[in-house]
């Protein structure tokens, strides 16, 4: 059983997905989806344990050996990411029961869970696979299901947002496919380990450089790297709350993983950062992303859009970490994958609680909410402090590594930008908090209740993790550090 874990990680949600369509009752299908997701979490935890103890796991699908067969290869980096994705899903799904009833038409709820499980399958598959084309397949699965999930939002603009994401996402996926195709053309293999041994020798050819460009832009679109981020604010703002929380915490992280895998495992750090001046290019893009996205966030009227732009800025931090090409920088980027997932997941869950009670996410409607929904707003305060990077929260840990990496490289302006990003975050967080705590609740609205426990508890679990992993970083930093050394140091 345990030897089949990598396959089970993907197969279980994959088979569970169409089963959801057969289950009509929304409580049963919800319970089933939660069970499946928790199974996926257990499998991911077991695999991480195994990888930390005895090194990468290699699994041949259908017992056909690599490089002809499809290989699933789980090393420290993707075991960590599997844990993140499955973990976020496991916490977000119990929350979904009440939230989904409010936001999605009753006859579509089974379809929602089916699409959700497909999306989970896709994301887990992207992470677990060791085959470049297989990665593209799962990328398409997760993308298409996420377009469906986004379009289920109540606001009619959800449809146009999903369509915009579909167009841009398809362009991105196609670029990745072209990149993979060009690599296949030059090396004759699709297996990542095999590519890793063959590509460096032919790296300085125009074809391979073109492949690199296509892969980077394709992944960049999926991870909403500035200026390819235009699909993200609308998609996050109009999707159902559960979808926003789940996608914000997972989809972009998986795209960053794709970038990491192609950069460091296949192309190799020396090609990217020494032969090409790519460190500087990535750094410029991410620095601009941090400043522009944070500034735009300050002027948003809808709190979901505000946090969406905040996500673009936070993703830029991850890419900034990658651009340093040092252990410290890469550790900072990888740990921010985890930290941001936990922070943003918690924040969007809290906003979902607000939407449940208020029916709106406009900042002007949040007046006086501090007294009406104290626990929800307290969750937003703590999540916001983490975004700013106050010590004892996960956000501080990420910022520490990023600034340290900048100082080590002597890139002082970059250190300044990271700090400026924190201060800009303080401004937009404070906008929301001032409205909620200093403005009076309009008396004509009548009193509203706090969110139900089924939604508050998952929110506070994630916010609690934001604090816990800001104090006890042994797991997250230990794994991130190992992953960074592994990526930069070569194969193990």
């Amino acid at each position: 059983m345990s030897s089949h874990l990598p396959a089970l990680q993907v197969v279980i949600p994959l088979i569970a997905s169409p089963t959801c369509v057969l289950l009509r009752d929304h409580r049963v299908v919800w319970g089933f989806a939660v069970l499946v997701n928790w199974c996926a979490l257990v499998i991911a935890a077991l695999m991480l344990d195994q990888v930390l103890a005895s090194g990468p796991i290699s699994y041949a699908i259908g017992s056909w050996a690599a490089p002809w067969g499809i290989e699933y290869r789980v090393d420290v980096l993707n075991a960590f990411l599997l844990l993140i994705v499955a973990g976020i899903g496991a916490i977000v799904l119990p929350y979904a029961r009440t939230s989904v009833i409010r936001e999605i038409p009753a006859d579509r709820i089974s379809l929602f869970y089916a699409a959700y499980l497909l999306c989970l399958t896709g994301l887990l598959g992207i992470i677990a696979t060791g085959d470049a084309f297989n990665l593209f397949v799962f990328l398409e699965i997760s993308s298409l299901s996420s377009y469906i999930l986004i379009s289920l939002g109540k606001d009619r603009r959800a449809l146009t947002a999903a369509f915009q994401y579909l167009i841009m996402g398809t362009v991105g996926a196609s670029f990745i496919l072209i990149g993979v195709g060009l690599l296949y053309m030059m090396t004759g293999t699709l297996n990542m380990v095999d590519l890793a041994s063959r590509v460096p020798q032919i790296a300085d050819t125009r074809t391979v450089r073109a492949a690199f460009a296509f892969l980077t832009v394709g992944a960049g679109i999926k991870l909403a790297l500035f200026p390819l981020h235009l699909w993200l604010p609308n998609a996050y703002a109009y999707a159902p709350s559960v979808v926003t929380a789940f996608l914000a915490a997972t989809a972009t992280k998986v795209a960053v993983y794709v970038l990491l895998r192609f950069f460091f495992t296949i192309f190799g750090a020396s090609f990217i950062f020494q032969t090409l001046p790519f460190g500087e290019i990535l750094m410029s893009l991410s620095v601009t992303g941090v400043l522009v996205a944070s500034t735009v966030a300050i002027f948003q009227e809808d709190v979901k859009r505000l946090f969406a732009y905040s996500s673009v800025a936070q993703i830029s931090y991850m890419v900034l970490g990658i651009s340093f090409a040092s252990i410290t920088g890469l550790t900072g980027g990888i740990i921010h994958l985890f930290n941001h997932a936990v922070m943003k997941g918690g924040l969007f869950l809290a906003i979902g609680c607000i939407f449940l009670r208020l029916g709106s996410t406009q900042i002007s409607d949040l007046k006086g909410l501090g007294r009406q929904m104290p626990w929800t707003m307290a969750a937003i305060v703590l999540g916001g402090l983490s975004l700013i990077g106050i010590p004892l929260t996960v956000g501080f840990i990420s910022k520490w590594y990023l600034i340290l990496a900048a100082i080590e490289r002597g890139w002082w302006p970059v250190a300044g930008v990271v700090l400026a990003g924190s201060l800009l975050a303080a401004i937009y967080i404070w906008r929301v908090l001032e409205v909620a705590y200093f403005k009076p609740w309009p008396t004509h609205k009548g009193s509203i209740a706090e969110a139900p426990l089924s939604m508050l508890i998952p929110t506070w679990i994630l916010i609690g993790l934001t604090l816990y992993f800001g104090i006890d970083t042994s797991l997250t930093l230990g794994v991130a550090d190992r992953a960074a050394e592994f990526l930069l140091g070569g194969q193990s």
Partner: protein, 491 residues
């Protein structure tokens, strides 16, 4: 009870107290009792560490290890001991005062007030006992955040705007400048532990050290060095007990305490003597002392005047430390305590006047000394301490600061101390004169009897703090011993 446990308890006791306050929010008398008991317990535990520290022991404890090789560690050393003892004792006095003030003014959200007050004191203890710069930074930030609800307590638009200045300036300096300095120190020195003689010797060039020093000094916004001082007058919008304990004792002293720790334990006095930037710090602080005093001269609002006086007095501590003479460093350490007693008395008096008469402007205070003799008496003692005249505490610390400046022949510092003493007299003594010797032109003489002293808890508190100000002058041995230990000597 081991010293290690007590050190950790110092940070934890106020938090537990806050929990009990929350639980007893429906019973005000129980809640107030919890506050007093918590404050009492805190002082007792902190004071129990005093004998050990006086003999040279340095109790320490580790709380957690968020970053590899960078624990959240506590270590009790003389300066921190002095700060913690003063702050914890004054919390007891302020709690008594708060009861009278909050109830006398029918303030709302009192439970929230007491809870955040306790959290602020917990972080103050954390700052006082921090064993490395990271721990100090963590508690420094928590202090900023936990005092924000206290500053904006009244929830008005004015409070919100003041809160923006407060938080904006403090976070800008701490995140933008201090954190950068800390990370740079970590990268250069490989450690953030506080060590006698500093951790930066020979690690980088003198110019870089100079820049680092300025980053620290400007980054420690709580020390209110100009031009980063605006948060302190803005914070006067808070209820007066907040201004008294936090913005005369805990928050501002956390600022100058941090500056002193950085100067003595991160850089080390010997390294600083080799840096030109040290002189720059002296000039910055000296400028702040004079400029703040001149601004104070023009204030009519009593709390604003006291705020600018605080800014000026804080820079005494920074300047005295930056002069780098052993005796002036002793003076700086003493002034952390002396100023605390004097200033808290002054703020208590201001709050007392407001509670009894709703007057906030100095021009309204004609003859108030006759109807509120205890309040104005205490105010007088506090004012004498600010000027630096016996028998008030401020005399002792100023004496040492002056001696130290003369010893190293720092003409600028000596001049600043002399001129500012005159300026202090110029804006404080008229208030005393107005209070006692001028007759109110607006009120007919028979209505004097309608103004009575403030409620008893308020009067008790300000009498105690005034007494402490005098006692410090009469019995300065313990603070002196601790201050001398800072420079590795004895009185």
């Amino acid at each position: 009870m081991t010293h290690e446990l007590i050190t950790q308890l110092a940070v934890v006791i106020p938090l537990i107290g806050a929990l009990f306050m929350w639980v007893s929010h429906n019973q005000p008398n129980l809640r107030e009792a919890v506050t007093i008991v918590t404050a009492g317990l805190l002082f007792v535990s902190v004071a129990s560490l005093l004998p050990a520290v006086l003999t040279g022991a340095r109790p320490s404890a580790v709380l957690a290890e968020p970053l590899p090789n960078l624990p959240l560690a506590l270590e009790v050393e003389p300066l921190g001991m002095l700060f913690a003892v003063v702050a914890s004792f004054l919390w007891i006095v302020t709690s008594v005062y708060s009861i009278g003030y909050m109830r006398g003014n029918h303030e709302r959200h009192q439970t929230r007030y007491y809870i955040y007050f306790a959290i602020a004191l917990s972080s103050t203890m954390g700052v006082a006992f921090a064993g490395n710069m990271l721990t100090l930074f963590v508690f420094y930030e928590i202090l900023t955040l936990s005092t924000y609800p206290l500053v904006t307590h009244h929830g008005t638009d004015e409070a919100m705007r003041a809160g923006r200045t407060y938080l904006g300036l403090l976070l800008f300096t701490s995140i933008g400048l201090q954190l950068l300095a800390i990370l740079w120190t970590w990268q250069v020195a490989g450690t953030l532990d506080f060590a006698a003689g500093g951790i930066l010797n020979g690690k980088a060039s003198n110019t870089m050290m100079g820049v680092l020093l300025i980053l620290y000094v400007l980054g420690i916004g709580k020390a209110a060095i100009m031009p980063l001082h605006r948060w302190l007058p803005a914070a006067m919008v808070a209820p007066t007990p907040v201004s008294a304990l936090l913005h005369a004792v805990a928050v501002v002293k956390a600022g100058v305490f941090t500056v002193a720790k950085v100067l003595v334990y991160v850089f080390g006095l010997d390294l600083l003597r080799a840096l030109n930037a040290s002189a720059l710090v002296v000039y910055l602080a000296g400028f702040t002392i004079i400029a703040a005093s001149i601004i104070a001269l023009k204030q009519d609002n009593l709390k604003r005047l006291l705020a600018y006086s605080t800014i000026s007095q804080l820079s005494y501590i920074v300047m005295a430390a930056a002069v780098l003479a052993p005796l002036s460093v002793v003076g700086a350490a003493l002034h952390i305590a002396a100023h605390a007693f004097g200033k808290i008395t002054l703020f208590f008096a201001a709050g007392s006047i407001y509670t009894a008469t709703h007057k906030t402007e100095i021009s309204q205070l004609d003859g108030i000394g006759r109807s509120m003799p205890w309040t104005m008496g205490a105010f007088t003692i506090g004012a004498l301490s600010m000027v630096g005249v016996p028998p008030a505490a401020g005399f002792i610390s100023k004496w040492y600061m002056l001696l130290g400046a003369l010893e190293v022949e720092n003409v600028f510092a000596v001049g600043v101390i002399v001129v500012s003493t005159l300026l202090n007299a110029a804006y404080f003594l008229p208030i005393v004169y107005t209070g006692f010797f001028r007759t109110s032109k607006k009120e007919p003489s028979h209505s004097r009897t309608l103004v009575r002293e403030a409620p008893l808890p308020i009067v008790m508190a300000l009498t105690i703090s005034a007494l402490l100000t005098v006692l410090f002058f009469c019995f300065p041995d313990v603070p002196l011993t601790l201050a001398y230990q800072l420079i590795g000597d004895s009185p």
